[in-house]
Structures are given as structure tokens and as C-alpha cells.
């Protein structure tokens, strides 16, 4: 979209939209337009109002003020059903698939294909689903149970489900969090096709490089207010980030990388095999060192964490801590041996969302905080308050339910929880997934500080810039095996630029190349 679209080219026109939650003004007089056949990025930090405006468009919330038009028709009824009838479809960050049904059954849920006799026709549904997948160029079996799919496959299923419902306005909220590089490419190709068919696409992501690749225009929100709407060509990355954070950003490139003197090997893994993955893994992490694990989806990145933490069983191999072999059969053994895992799925594995910050953070160490059998609130209060202050967790109080916190702060609660356990070895799986760019950098800086204090750290991530910023050494995994193990410096530009951002981008390209090559050789 080069020129400003003319009036009836708009798929969505939201004007003067405000939304009040109790005393909190989540949106203040925001206008937001999306043209037909446009991919429009909606950007802003956590809490900027992106979710709120999308939920209004999607009919989950009614606006307190303002008007909404979809495809020229005013939207007066604010229910998810009314929005769907108007042609708006949303792909949620949290997945809305039913794991006990098949892929095809999920796609056609609530608008099942029926036979003449009025019975559900699973065969036609599967065939139609197969056709939709073929269009997308994805290989997913429509008759497979959703519960058996990988996170990436589930995400694609979710998108296909929306597409199957003749959606004219498609909202994607962090659609690539769980996708591998290849899957992202396929998704983008598919989105471009939808766009050429006139579908209006609203794209929300914290991954700036994706925005620059896919979006035509961007609207940036900050603190519930509209900041700017402009074609991407007018928004270089630096400007975009400036608009988003409202000050010079502390991007990843700003994290100070000082070489720390490495201590003795704290964690040593020899020929470790899990149930399927990892396959014959060898790994040494020294005190003060951060080892990054890169790999595409399904490479067994997270399986390494699960086996080390005793969640998945160890088939063979040895784990040594401080040089001594240890048996880790369950998470309790891992914790007893000074290992902490910040798991991949924050909401399911990391916290109990309905429970308070304090209850969550103190859970792994309630025995240590207790007086005999009794939970000591005084001890827990003190310990948790220290962490809230140290990690600068933004919460109403230590007694607030974790559900009420932003993604970044929820993640800090998970980190606080494990720092309280005083681990020697810290494993972080996707530590900044779904978190805004400011908080991402903050969390990575925190991880580097922890390494400096002598901990051995493993960072697992699908975000290359994050790995490159955090890690001292990188492991590249393919199919459960380590394809390469090399120092971070190997990805440095031999002729380094003065600009930190450019240096990081160079390293990212190198790492990406290595990843693709490693995959090609299998």
C-alpha cells in the first residue's frame, strides 16, 4: 500500500474509540483503519492497548465510546458472534483448539459440513481441510488429533480454521511465536496470497524483523493512545522502536557483553538420550557461562531442558554437576541438585495464574521458608518483596493474582520464583516469548547479570537475536543431535560496524545461515 487508501477501500474503520475498565482508561480516542488487501501491523508495548482494540474489533469488549465500521457497515452489536458475521476473524495468541478432536473437526467446528441426511460428514471435512493445507503448502494430516500436533502445526491449523470461515478481516496476534523459520516463510507466503485476494490483515508481533518483512502500514499505540500510522517505508526500525517505547530504546544490541572469566564446569552432560530427543547430547556449561541452544521447531531444543529437569525420562547417558554424577528422575531431584527451569509455556508450566505473585514465587521453596510444617508468611513476604524490587516486577502487590500482570511481569515472576531457589544452573526455555521489546532486553540483561554472579545458564530460544545477545557459546541442534557447538564470537563480523544494531544483524544472518545449512546436511 503506497498511497493512502480512499474511503471505500477500507475494510475496517474505527474512529474515536475509547475503552474504560473500572478506573483504568485502556484506550483513549484511538482511530484505526485497515484497507482491503493490506497487511497492517499494530504495534506497541505490552499494555499499550493493542489487545483492547483488537478485542473491541473482535466483539469481546464493547467500546465505551467511538464508532466501528467493517466493510462499510457500522458494527453496533458488540459480541464475538456479530463480529464474526461481519467478517472479522481472530487468531488468538493462546490457542483455541480442542486437542481431543481431529484437525479437520477443529477447522469446521460449529460450521460442520453435513451430508444430505444431516449428519456430520467427516470425510468431506478432511478432504476440504487437505485442500486448504495444500494451498498453504503445509504438511498436516487433517485426520490427526490436534493433541498430537506440534505447537507450530497447531498455530497453522488455527489460521486455516479462521480462513475456512470466509474471513475478510483477519487478526493475527503473535502468530509466529511457536513457528520455525520455514513455517514462518510459508505463513508469510500465505498471508500475501490472502492479501492479493483483498483480505485485510491486522498483524500483531513483537518481532520487528517480521513486521518489516510483511507489513504494508503500521499503527503504533502507546499508553492507550494513537501515536502514528504510516507506511512501513516511512518507518525505519529505529524510528518505529522510538515511537513504540517513547524514548530511545534499550534494544538487544545495548546489552553489555563483557567477557567474564569462566569458572569450572558446573554442568556436564555425556551422551544424554531422552525418550526420543535429545539423541546423544554432549554439553558442558561452566560457572559464569551462558550457552544458547538454537534449532528449528522439533529439533529437540526444549527436550534437552525437559530431560535435564527430570520431566522427560533419561534413557541413557550421564549428568554431572560439579564433576559428580547425579540421578535426576523428577523435578524435585533437579531442584535438589541446584537446577532451575524457566519453562517454555509460561501460563501452563510456569505459574498458576489464579494464585498470587507470592504464592507462585514461593512454591518451590515453601519448605525452606516454613517453620516446621507451617508456611511462614513473614519469611515468604520478605523473600518475595526482595525479588519484586530486584526484578522490578510491576504488580499491584505481592498478593495480586498473576493473571492481572502483563506478560513480561508474569515472566519475571517465574524468574523470581526460581531465583529464590538459589540455583547454580539455570535453564531458560523461550524466556521472552510474547513479551514486548523493552522487557525482552531487560530480561536478557538480567540473565547476563546472573551469569556474571557465577551461575551456569542455558538459554533456549527460537529468536536468534535473543540467543546472540545472551549467549557466550551456541549449540545448534538438528533432529535431537548437536550439529555444531561454537563460541558466539564465530558469528561476529570480521569487519565490525560501529553500530551495535548492525553488528547484531550481521551475527543474526550468520547464525541463520548456519542453522539452515545444518538442517540441509541431515
Amino acid at each position: 500500500m503506497n498511497a493512502q487508501p480512499v474511503a471505500d477501500d477500507y475494510a475496517v474503520r474505527m474512529a474515536g474509540v475509547s475503552k474504560q475498565f473500572g478506573g483504568v482508561r485502556a484506550l483513549d480516542d484511538v482511530s484505526f483503519d485497515v484497507a482491503k488487501g493490506e497487511i497492517h501491523a499494530l504495534l506497541g508495548e505490552n499494555g499499550a492497548g493493542k489487545s483492547t482494540i483488537l478485542k473491541i474489533l473482535n466483539g469481546v469488549h464493547a467500546p465505551s465510546a467511538g464508532t466501528i465500521e467493517v466493510l462499510g457497515a457500522p458494527l453496533t452489536e458488540h459480541t464475538p458472534d456479530a463480529s464474526r458475521r461481519a467478517g472479522v476473524g481472530m487468531i488468538f495468541q493462546e490457542m483455541s483448539l480442542i486437542s481431543t478432536l481431529t484437525v479437520a473437526q477443529n477447522i469446521f467446528l460449529n460450521h460442520e459440513i453435513k451430508t444430505r441426511a444431516g449428519f456430520i460428514d467427516d470425510k468431506s471435512a478432511a478432504a476440504r481441510a487437505r485442500g486448504l493445507f495444500a494451498d498453504l503448502g503445509v504438511d498436516i494430516n487433517p485426520s490427526a488429533l490436534v493433541g498430537d500436533l506440534s505447537a507450530g502445526q497447531r498455530q497453522l491449523t488455527e489460521i486455516v480454521k479462521a480462513i475456512s470461515q470466509k474471513v475478510r478481516v483477519l487478526i493475527l496476534d503473535e502468530p509466529t511465536t511457536a513457528l520455525s523459520g520455514g513455517e514462518v516463510g510459508k505463513l508469510f507466503a500465505f498471508l500475501r496470497r490472502l492479501k492479493s485476494e483483498g483480505v485485510a490483515i491486522v498483524y500483531v508481533s513483537h518481532r520487528m524483523e517480521e513486521i518489516t518483512q510483511i507489513a504494508d502500514r503500521a499503527t503504533i499505540l502507546r499508553d492507550g493512545r494513537h501515536v502514528v500510522t504510516a507506511p512501513l517505508s516511512d518507518l525505519p526500525l529505529e524510528t518505529m522502536i522510538e515511537y513504540i517505547v517513547g524514548r530511545r530504546s534499550r534494544g538487544f544490541s545495548d546489552v553489555v557483553r563483557s567477557q567474564v572469566a569462566l569458572g569450572k564446569p558446573l554442568l556436564e552432560v555425556r551422551n544424554l538420550c531422552g525418550p526420543a530427543k535429545p539423541d546423544n547430547l554432549n554439553l558442558i556449561v561452566r560457572a559464569g557461562e551462558i550457552v544458547g541452544i538454537a534449532g528449528l521447531l522439533g529439533s529437540g531444543r526444549s527436550a534437552v531442558a525437559r530431560v535435564l529437569f527430570g520431566i522427560d525420562p533419561r534413557r541413557s547417558g550421564e549428568i554431572l554437576i560439579n564433576g559428580a554424577p547425579v540421578q535426576i528422575a523428577n523435578p524435585r531431584d533437579a531442584i535438589a541438585n541446584g537446577i532451575a527451569l524457566i519453562p517454555e509455556d509460561r501460563l501452563r508450566q510456569g505459574v498458576i495464574v489464579e494464585h498470587s505473585v507470592e504464592t507462585n514465587a514461593s512454591l518451590p521453596i515453601i519448605d525452606r521458608l516454613a517453620n516446621a510444617f507451617f508456611v511462614s508468611d513473614t519469611n515468604a513476604d520478605a523473600a518475595v518483596d526482595t525479588q519484586i524490587a530486584a526484578l522490578r516486577i510491576k504488580t499491584a502487590s505481592r498478593d495480586a493474582a498473576v493473571r492481572t500482570l502483563s506478560g513480561g511481569n508474569q515472566q519475571k515472576v517465574v524468574i523470581a520464583k526460581w531465583l529464590l531457589a538459589e540455583p547454580q544452573i539455570l535453564i531458560l526455555d523461550e524466556p521472552t516469548a510474547g513479551i514486548d521489546i523493552g522487557s525482552k532486553a531487560e530480561i536478557i540483561a538480567l540473565v547476563r547479570d546472573l551469569a556474571k554472579s557465577g551461575k551456569a545458564i542455558i538459554v533456549i530460544s527460537s529468536e536468534l537475536s535473543e540467543l546472540l545477545t545472551a549467549a557466550d557459546r551456541l549449540l545448534i541442534m538438528v533432529d535431537g543431535r548437536v550439529a555444531r557447538d561454537c563460541p558466539r564470537s564465530e558469528f561476529d563480523d570480521p569487519d565490525p560496524s560501529d553500530d551495535e544494531g548492525a553488528r547484531l544483524q550481521y551475527a543474526e544472518r550468520q547464525l541463520s545461515k548456519v542453522l539452515q545449512q545444518a538442517h540441509a546436511h541431515v
Binding site: 469481546v60 483455541s96 523435578p331 505459574v351 494464585h355 515453601i366 519448605d367
Partner: protein, 325 residues
Amino acid sequence: MSNAPASPKGAVAAAPRFGLGNWRQYVIYVGFVAIFLIFAATLYDKGFLDPNNLLNIGRQTAMIAIMAVAMTFVLSAGEIDLSIGMVAGLASLTTAMAMDAWGLPAGVLAGLATGLVVGVVNGTLTTRVGIPSFLTTLAMMGIARGVAMWATQTKSVPILDDNYIAVFGGKDFFHFPVLLIWMVVVAVAGHVVLRKTTFGRRVLATGGSETAARYSGVDTASIKMRVLVISSMAACLAGMLYAGRLHSGRFQLGEGDELSVIAAAVLGGTSLFGGAGTVVGSIVGALMIGLINNGLLLMGLEYSEQLIARGVIIILAVALSPSRK
């Protein structure tokens, strides 16, 4: 996104829950007081407020309340125990029979052992074999009932030991029913354990999110095993109290109690989906059910009418309670 809370359902429900959550938290207590006042006013001339009648409500409710305390743990851990009513009946018989054969200590031991065995079987099937507790305890319901009927050819077994009857509920202690003392002791212990001990905290964590609890190093299988054992032990204590009160063990004792107990816990604000529960609420829930039963009886309603009225009141109370997610 800070205003996109944890789960889709949380996201949608966030706004109304803050508004209504506060009064819903106390609906059980308000309801209890309201029903009490209504009965006090309308049934004044029928002796509702007579101390003897009020103590009677307590006597009739004690067993339900004791089991409801244990059920609070089971539900908070995300499990359920349907076998308690039948297990109470079974324990009344094992106690009476063992006492008949070998004397008082053996009888008490037999009653408690019944609870331990049933609880361990329920727990093992649920945590090791992986059968959901709903099914395990549903099956155990029939087994306990069957064993109780078979062992006695459906006859009741009399209890003649005065000491047993004095301790397990038949008598008053300085004009105060012993049953109520049992109830208060169990309630206080249950409240302290759930709120103040590391075990209680782990029970709530297990029910709140089993995965997150496991990732936090909680041995969730052992927690579930323990709550199911607690539950059958409480059921057996209730059975022994029934036996003491009626001077005999009978397989029919405790029949249908599982429903009153679950209703009491849910009325009191314990979530059927785990992660949240209060012992005090369950006790008040149990007392409220006792209060309703007593009031309807004094009103002179037919048994059939009592059943209908009780059902309607319970539905109303649960509809207004906070735990109905």
C-alpha cells in the same frame, strides 16, 4: 499484553469478576444468616430457636461437616471422592464387628484401618494406574457398599460398649454434644493445614495447575494420594460417629452423603475445578444444608416436598457462589 491476562476465559471474565467477586465471596455467609433469620422468624412458635433444636442441627450436620473438610482438600487438589458415603457405612460395620470380637481398641483401629486401606487403593488407582478419581471412587462406592452388605448379610451390628458410645458421638460432654466437639476439632485442624502448612499450599498448587506445580518440584502424585487417604479416613471417622450415635453399625449409614458433602464444599466456595477452597466455607455450607433440612422438617413439609425445596435452595446458592467458574 498487560490487559490480555492469562487465559482466554480469564480475559473475558476479568472485568465482571472484579465487580462481583467481592460480594460473591461472602454469599454463603450472608445466605446462612438470611436463612437462619427467616426460619427464626417463621418457625419461632415451632421451637426452631430452642437450644435443643439448634444443638440437634449440629448433631445431624457434624458428620457431613467432617467429610466436607476432607472434601475441601480433595476438590482443591483437583480430584473428587464419591465413595465417602458408602465407606462411612462400611467403617461403621468394621468398627462394630471388630469391637464385638476383640474389644474397643480393636474396633477403633479397624475403623481407621478401613479408611487407610480404601484411601490407599483409591489413591493408587488414581495416581499410579491413572484412572481419574471420579471413576476410581465411583467404583469404590459399589465395592464398599457390597462388602458391607456381604460381610453382615445386610444385618446391623449392635454396639454395646458405653465408652465407645461416649467418645464417638452418642453422649454430651457438659451439655455439649461430643459430635460437635469432633466437628470443631476437625474443622480447626483442616483450616490450619490447608491455609498454614506447606502441604496445604501444595494441595492448592496441584489443583491450580498440575503442570506448573510439577514443574515447581511438587510431587503431585503424592499430594493426590494423600488427599484421597485423608478423605476416606474422614469418611471412616464419620462412619464411626454415626455408629456411636445409633449404637450400631449399619451398611445404610452415610448413604447419599457424598452429594451433601460436595454440595457443602461447593456452597462454601471450594472450586470443583481445583486450586481454590476454604474449610470454613465448607463447614458453613454443611451447617446451611443441616439448617435447611431442619427448617423444612419443622415447617411440616412432606419428605417429597423437602427434597424439592432443598434442591432449589442449593441450586440458588451455588449459582450465586464464587466457585462456579
